[in-house]
């Protein structure tokens, strides 16, 4: 009898011990996309594993969710299915669409409660542009990039250009490109310049050219809903892009494909390219020549859009889980992780303090080309932030392709594109 009582007591203690433990342990779902070739999914899983070891009460399950578009679709599906992720990385550019779906929460309260630890002013202001809307912060920068200009130093030397003085203005750019374009027997064996305009992130570099021409592709007073395609700077940019192939003959004629541009540069088929800083690792591994990176040359001004993905938290998550998700997001966007992620992936570390860490200093010492993107951030603008972004980008791309494949005047083509965009945004 005594024995049985003892047993019951033991069971009781065990149950009493296990139940609170089971309650204390929380399982969070974390959706993330991958936009870079290579084992990035495994790297992210590795960070999460580290977190899980350090935080036995908050176990995070990393869920690879495809590319950015698919990850967004999967997130929406999960929310409608009643099983939302607790935290996710989504495109920073999608903010207006995401707010329109009413699925995320502003982070200001969470940030205010943790201000000393989060240090929002440690993030480069340029990377916060696509994170803020209506005076509120909606997402924390994580995997961010900007385009830079890569140039082949060996080719520069070959044609008598100073390899340490890359072109600063678009006029210098075209002049250098002319020198660098090499013809053999009526065939071009090396193009001077390539600015990709189709496939992948098709409107990104056009946006960069528009910014350089002194404009923006959207209205800052109505950033959710007004695109400025029929504008003087947008026209100048489109004209510039067309003339590179048509008139100056320093670029392959017609639209240039994003996917093969880095390969063409590494193969020496083109001497200068506009390309994402995320391609740095690829070019480093594949180019056998000495290369440099530089700011995108200016026309009226220096300038570039930013790109990439941020951390978001969701409305449907109950408060206790949200707190845990916030802890995780905070850790993932901490100085140390962002520095490691930058080195592992090629993205630009969005925290200033990440660049002061020993690992980062070591990395930059070895590959000084990585600094250009960071320094260019002082001239950066928000990436086209309007809603219905996928359709809008498609309409802009269509207009741009028409510019590059026909000889009709640029103005009317863009005006036509503007009409279509206005309809999409109505």
């Amino acid at each position: 009898m005594k024995r049985r009582a003892l047993l019951a007591a033991v069971v009781l203690v065990l149950v009493a011990g296990i139940v609170p433990m089971a309650q204390a342990q929380m399982k969070l779902q974390f959706y993330y996309p991958v936009g870079v070739a290579g084992p990035l999914a495994r790297i992210i899983d590795g960070y999460v594993k580290e977190w899980n070891q350090k935080n036995p009460q908050i176990q995070v399950e990393p869920v690879f969710a495809g590319g950015y578009t698919e990850a967004y679709a999967k997130t929406l599906a999960a929310i409608r299915g009643g099983t939302p992720p607790d935290v996710a990385i989504m495109l920073s550019q999608n903010l207006n669409d995401i707010i329109g779906q009413d699925i995320v929460i502003p982070l200001d309260e969470l940030i205010a409660a943790d201000a000393a630890q989060v240090k929002m002013d440690d993030f480069f202001p340029a990377f916060m542009l696509n994170s803020t809307q209506g005076g509120k912060v909606w997402s924390i920068p994580f995997q961010r990039s900007t385009p830079v200009m890569y140039y082949n130093k060996d080719a520069f030397k070959e044609v008598g250009l100073d390899p340490n003085k890359p072109p600063q203005t678009q006029a210098e750019l075209v002049a250098a490109a002319k020198k660098l374009t090499k013809q053999e027997g009526g065939r071009t064996t090396r193009w001077g310049l390539a600015i990709p305009s189709s496939g992948g992130v098709d409107t990104w570099l056009y946006e960069a050219l528009t910014i350089a021409a002194g404009g923006l592709l959207y209205d800052t007073n109505n950033s959710c809903c007004k695109v400025l395609l029929a504008s003087k700077p947008a026209e100048t940019a489109a004209q510039f892009l067309r003339e590179l192939g048509e008139k100056e003959k320093v670029s392959p004629p017609g639209p240039i494909n994003w996917g093969t541009t880095a390969n063409d540069f590494a193969a020496g088929n083109v001497a200068m390219i506009y390309y994402t800083t995320g391609g740095l690792g690829f070019i480093r591994n594949n180019a056998k020549f000495d290369f440099g990176t530089a700011f995108l040359p200016k026309d009226q001004r220096f300038g570039t859009p930013t790109g990439g993905g941020n951390f978001y938290l969701f409305k449907a998550t109950p408060p206790d889980r949200r707190k845990a998700a916030w802890e995780f997001a905070k850790w993932m966007t901490s100085t140390e992780i962002l520095a490691r992620w930058s080195i592992d992936s090629g993205y630009v570390a969005p925290r200033k303090s990440s660049w002061e860490t020993p690992v980062m200093k070591d990395y930059v010492g070895k590959y000084p080309q990585a600094i250009t993107a960071r320094d260019q951030l002082q001239y950066a603008h928000a990436e086209l932030p309007v809603k219905n972004i996928i359709e809008v980008k498609r309409a802009i791309t269509t207009a741009l392709q028409t510019v590059l494949t026909t000889t009709q005047p640029v103005g009317p083509i863009l005006a036509e594109g503007q009409k279509r965009v206005d309809e999409i945004l109505k």
């Binding site: 779902q29 070739a37 290579g38 399950e61 990393p62 698919e70 599906a77 992948g200 992130v201 995320g278």
Partner: protein
């Protein structure tokens, strides 16, 4: 040999990508990037990188469970449904057949969200069974097999019936052997389709332990924010399609026969 020329010409557009796949995956990535598309000796570096980029053994297991398991169930359902629609007389048969046809015209992408919601509701979200569920009754298979049964003269059924065979026996011993080419053709289509499928498994599953090859492949070949690493992408693709290619080479004759026969009779 001369008779084969048209066939060879026709196959060129399909051989091109395969040739590229082989060249890119066996050439050192650095050289391929510089425009040297062939190197000797070939290298396996891209394969080792691709293999490390995802948990392939797990994905193989899941993909085989998913595709083969689904096919086994499908073969039963499409045979029974095809038989019913071809041989049994019941009120509304034609209507049922039209409903099946209707499903053929619906692009599967449209059904992703409703299917996903249904799975969640019945507790099969993020499981391999749930992944297969929407395909258990294949309209394409039912249609194909029904046409197959209809091309078999009813005299066969009647003869077997005279010998005292029941419906199940007739179906199993008389009719199924005669529609084997249709079933084989359907099997090939089903296997390839589900082996390659990406969007539905991406949405329907979340845990790594329930993920299939196509999703795993996409996890390290996305290049919108970097350069296209052809070596890695092609090596990964080869790892994913190798079993199917091997199957096809081994059973090539069988595949082709089944397609031509089912086509002739259908």
């Amino acid at each position: 040999m001369r008779r084969d020329w048209p066939a060879i010409l026709l196959s060129l557009p399909f051989l091109g990508p395969i040739a590229f796949l082989l060249l890119a995956s066996f050439t050192p990535s650095r050289e391929f990037g510089q425009g040297r598309y062939w190197s000797f000796p070939p290298t396996l570096e891209s394969f080792s990188l691709a293999w490390q980029s995802a948990t392939f053994v797990l994905y193989y297991r899941n993909t085989i469970l998913y595709t083969v398991g689904l096919l086994a169930v499908q073969l039963v359902t499409v045979t029974l449904a095809g038989y019913a629609l071809a041989r049994l007389r019941f009120p509304g048969r034609q209507a049922v057949f039209y409903v099946v046809l209707l499903q053929l015209f619906l692009p599967p992408v449209v059904l992703i969200l409703p299917n996903f919601l249904t799975l969640r509701a019945i507790g099969l979200g993020d499981t391999l069974v749930g992944l297969a569920m929407p395909y258990v009754a294949s309209a394409y298979g039912i249609f194909l097999v029904r046409q197959g049964f209809r091309s078999v003269p009813p005299e066969y059924d009647e003869a077997a019936m005279l010998d005292g065979a029941g419906r199940v026996r007739i179906l199993w011993h008389v009719l199924v052997p005669m529609v084997r080419p249709h079933l084989a053709a359907f099997s090939v289509v089903s296997l390839i389709y589900h082996w390659n499928e990406f969007l539905w498994p991406l949405v329907a599953t979340s845990s790594n332990s329930n993920r299939v090859l196509a999703v795993g492949l996409q996890s390290f070949t996305r290049a919108s924010e970097s350069g296209a690493e052809w070596g890695l992408i092609c090596a990964g693709t080869l790892i994913v399609i190798a079993p199917l290619m091997l199957l096809f080479v081994l059973f090539q004759r069988l595949f082709i026969e089944s397609f031509t026969q089912s086509g002739l009779k259908g």
